[in-house]
Subunit: 341 residues, 2 copies
């Protein structure tokens, strides 16, 4: 990323970022200090901020356009899982001196591609320099019918637990990016790596879950960890059947019969699929939604009252009905990840 030094931030904003704001009147072409945003009639604004950090959320040498798209998509994924339709975002971009103008151009091009794909607009933000790694904070705005967002806490005993797409690809992709797996074909490897680098937020499906899902969230910390979050707030436990967890063909090949890689699937993060609960009576509507959206949705278990005197928790059962141990319990930035919302 070495190169000639950067123009000042005002020129960079005018050249690369202002064009990303031109469809949104309340962004004022990034020529003012604030942006103005209103929800549509009958809707309310849903907001989410996530930060991604070089060396933590992406490898130091990652392509700038992929960094930009992932930073945006992890926020869109949160909105989608709550039933909100994404509309706009603010970008705080913190750059080390090693970043040059080509990097910024590629970063902005990544945002432009995703803006077109997801129908969102840049409406403001800030730039700063740092002695540390590239750091990107995005605050995303969506909207949902008033009072209708899908919460973590609404699950009921007996609800079915569903998950969209496939689980574990990103964790396997991350592991692959660090060391190749013996005997994994190039096509499978490329698929898994892309699932890690470029999540596919379920922005069309998510809002259609309003009225179906009793609770939900996106899978970012890992299937088990995120299900545990849902359980904690819903004050319920969950029982998951390992054989029902949806795996891609590439993931099946990568896992083979290696129990460590299966644990990676259960405990790894970065899937950005939607994990949700719905009453058994909604099974047909979920199936229809899967068909109409083209996104597979798998039933993987059910919710139940927590055992008396015990904290809500997650049990994963193997094919013989035995509880599996869960060596990886999800991603946390500090300390050891324990139960907790």
């Amino acid at each position: 990323m070495a190169g000639k030094s950067l123009p000042n931030e005002f020129d960079l904003i005018a050249r690369y970022f202002a064009p990303l704001s031109h469809r949104f009147p309340g962004a004022y072409g990034l020529l003012d200090d604030v942006a103005v945003i209103s929800a549509s009639s009958g809707a309310e604004l849903v907001v989410k901020s996530d930060v991604v950090v070089g060396g933590i959320d992406f490898p130091p040498g990652e392509a700038a356009d992929l960094i930009a798209r992932k930073a945006l998509r992890v926020n869109l994924s949160d909105l989608a899982a709550k039933g909100a339709t994404p509309r706009a975002y603010l970008l705080d971009l913190v750059l080390p001196g090693s970043v040059d103008e080509d990097w910024i151009a590629a970063f902005a091009a990544g945002l432009a591609a995703d803006q077109a794909q997801y129908g969102v607009d840049l409406i403001g933000g800030d730039m700063s320099s740092t002695s540390g790694p590239v750091t990107i904070a995005i605050c995303a705005f969506g909207e949902a019918p008033r009072g209708a967002i899908i919460r973590r806490g609404g699950a009921r005993p007996g609800d079915t637990v569903f998950v969209t797409g496939t689980i574990g690809d990103a964790a396997l992709g991350l592991a692959l990016s660090r060391s190749s797996f013996r005997s994994l074909d190039a096509r499978s490897a490329a698929f898994l790596l892309e699932r890690y680098q470029l999540p596919q937020p379920r922005v069309t499906l998510g809002p259609q879950l309003i009225g179906i899902a009793t609770a939900g969230l996106d899978v970012s910390d890992g299937l088990i960890a995120d299900l545990r979050h849902l359980c904690c707030v819903s004050r319920l436990s969950a029982v998951i059947e390992a054989r029902l967890i949806p795996l891609s063909r590439a993931a099946r090949v990568a896992i083979g019969d290696d129990p460590e890689k299966l644990a990676m699937v259960l405990g790894g993060g970065d899937d950005y699929e939607i994990l949700f609960t719905a009453s058994a009576a909604q099974a047909a509507r979920v199936e229809e939604l899967s068909r109409s959206s083209g996104v597979s949705i798998a039933a993987i278990g059910h919710m139940s009252a927590a055992a008396k005197g015990e904290e809500p928790g997650v049990v994963v059962r193997d094919e013989l009905g035995r509880s599996m141990s869960l060596p990886h319990e999800g991603w946390a930035h500090f300390g050891t990840h324990r139960d907790g919302p």
Copy 2:
């Protein structure tokens, strides 16, 4: 900041940050993935995100509560200068491994103090780790009557240029924090340093400027630089009388007859006062507003059409009416700061 390692982020959020969200129903006690926010009837949401970085925006050893309060206040200042009343904020907190739990407790206490002072609530955010310095991105939400915010681009020829409070204290305070000034008394030094460390966003005054100010923004890059921003978007020039720029007693003492320190006042940043324009007919209302709010407001010059064929610009005149040279032209993170919005 060395100490025992941090608990995981979920525990930290539950212990230190969730209590900051409890007055705001749409924050869901930080137990969900998103927050929900609506403007009052007839109002619209005004949003702003600013990032502060250790070693850039505050010195490495700065007290955690001061870092927190400044990070929040620079955003509140932007909202206030646009006429918006602050309501809530999202916090992205990126921490190096050297930060311990005492630091986090002090940081959260700083936020709590400012929440009480400014009537805002934490409604969400994210935590991450970094190999770099403490980095804080805050996205602040305010509200203003629909279509009424004070823009950069509304100034008219003949408008008076006003500024609140005093200018240059923060720049002098920053310089003081790096090297003491000969012959500056301790009380003046303490005043200037606090003006740098802890801005006073004009959150009560700002919304009252709606209907009075034709254009405005907060002084963060420096009086001249920010006035130039206003000029660029308004497509006008400005003429400022140096003798009318309001200086604190401490700043007068610190400047003495040192022209370099005067340049620091004109070019330095971090004042977080409101710079605005208003028609001459509004002079009495501005005076009345200053009296009722207890915030001094000084007329420092006027707006004029840019000379034919020339870019909009800022001229500062000395006591004899001569144009002064402006050696410091404001703060920019990258490259050389030139004209530009």
